[in-house]
Symmetry: C2
Subunit: 237 residues, 2 copies
DNA sequence: CGACGCTTTGAGGAGATTCAAGACACGTGG
DNA sequence: CCACGTGTCTTGAATCTCCTCAAAGCGTCG
């Protein structure tokens, strides 16, 4: 699954199949032309490798082209806390903009291919490409909206969080043309629980509970949504 | 306390005593000159009144000059969830940038006085004032860093959250010249609990527990930090 | 001074965690 | 190709933290 979007051909921002999702969204054709000259493409990381580390200097915004990653911070005991999962077409790196030092670490959950828009080029673009600043600001502020959703979610029960997690991944995969009803989870139960703020045993119990209700079928990392309505009602009620 | 920063004289961005905290931070003198012509000053709201509502169109960024506010969203049952408290000198409104519709509601916790930088002027500034875009982007991305801290906090015990809350308010008041050890909480136990994700009875119990340990003295809304080190150790251990 | 809202305090209960042990899956080397 | 070992996932039982419900105390403001 993760390789479906990877390619060795001459993909640029103009023909990249992520064009509806990535930085170009919000730019016109000429502006995309500007952008493609400035982006470093075809950066690769293997599973477990870091894309950047917390504490390292901010070097620019990253757009995932294939594979998935986890964005994490550390609590006072050095335990990792997974702040977000990143899917293809999603942007990464905003945790370094404010202080110019990355606040989080980004690690590949499987082989990833990404584009990199260096800091210097961001500055150049904001001067020469009027629409670019708005795209970037809009994106960074949409992170704010997303975080509000996370706060709301953090007040809900473990079952609601698990349902929300599945539905959220499903939606994001659907947007980029994957099956919304059957997919592979690239992260472990441990990582899901960490992200949702619940124990991995609880994740396991709830997934199997959903299975017993014939809402989903789950076997290891392979997930199939059987009854989306019922899953939604779990999330909404 | 809340009135110390309010004033009826001709305060502009250049002589505003919040100049280290508000939008001008990061701008040079000439840029501040540009800004002051564009800002609407001396907007007032009384306790309980809204500064803006969720669902209303985004009209620009707001800078609190005096008083405090709560920023809230609603869960599926219509209960309010307090996303943040806003103190003087802090910016408000980023929840409307991404979709141009406010995602949250902002309500005064006491009489507030604020400046308003309208959308149209933001666009003009980004074209004519090179540094402005960076300030705005930096601010919106710093919200991201703050949200990461909130995720970390949401994993911790009720006692740790309460200690963190007190220390956080203390730090923010100190920055703008108030006593860091003795101050008035402008929000109720209910609102504190809502914000921290714990029941208001739990907030009350923990505050009184801290008092029994001679870490703080608390009487109604008046709070005094007796032993900051012990409070910090509660937060860090 | 009375009423209302906010805060405190207690008792009982629910949801999720922790600890522990067993099942399963996957990759490695023989 | 199978055996083995390691890490992941599942399942159960005991425990704990925090919530909910209830009632009384306190403060504040008309």
């Amino acid at each position: 699954m993760s390789n479906a979007l990877a390619t060795k051909s001459a993909i640029t921002c103009e023909n990249c199949n992520l064009d509806k999702l990535c930085i170009p969204k919000g730019l016109n054709r000429s502006e995309i032309g500007d952008l493609k000259l400035l982006v470093n493409r075809n950066n690769i990381r293997q599973k477990g490798e870091a894309i950047y580390h917390a504490g390292s200097p901010f070097r620019g915004i990253i757009a995932l082209r294939s594979g998935s990653a986890k964005l994490l911070s550390f609590d006072r005991n050095g335990n990792e806390i997974i702040v977000d999962f990143i899917l293809p077409g999603e942007l990464l790196g905003f945790d370094g903009v404010s202080s110019q030092i990355h606040n989080c670490t980004a690690i590949a959950l499987e082989t990833v291919n990404f584009c990199h828009l260096p800091t210097r080029q961001i500055e150049a673009l904001t001067l020469n490409t009027p629409g670019f600043y708005q795209v970037l600001l809009q994106r960074s502020c949409s992170q704010f909206d997303i975080q509000v959703q996370k706060i709301l979610l953090s007040r809900r029960s473990a079952e609601e969080r698990a349902a929300s997690f599945i539905l959220h991944i499903s939606d994001r995969l659907k947007i980029r043309g994957y099956s919304e009803l059957e997919f592979r989870l690239s992260m472990s139960r441990e990582e899901i629980g960490n992200h949702l703020g619940i124990a991995h045993e609880t994740v396991s119990r709830i997934f199997n509970y959903f299975q017993s209700l014939e809402i989903i079928e789950i076997k290891a990392k392979h997930l199939k949504i059987i009854d989306k309505k019922k899953l939604l009602s779990f999330y909404k009620d």
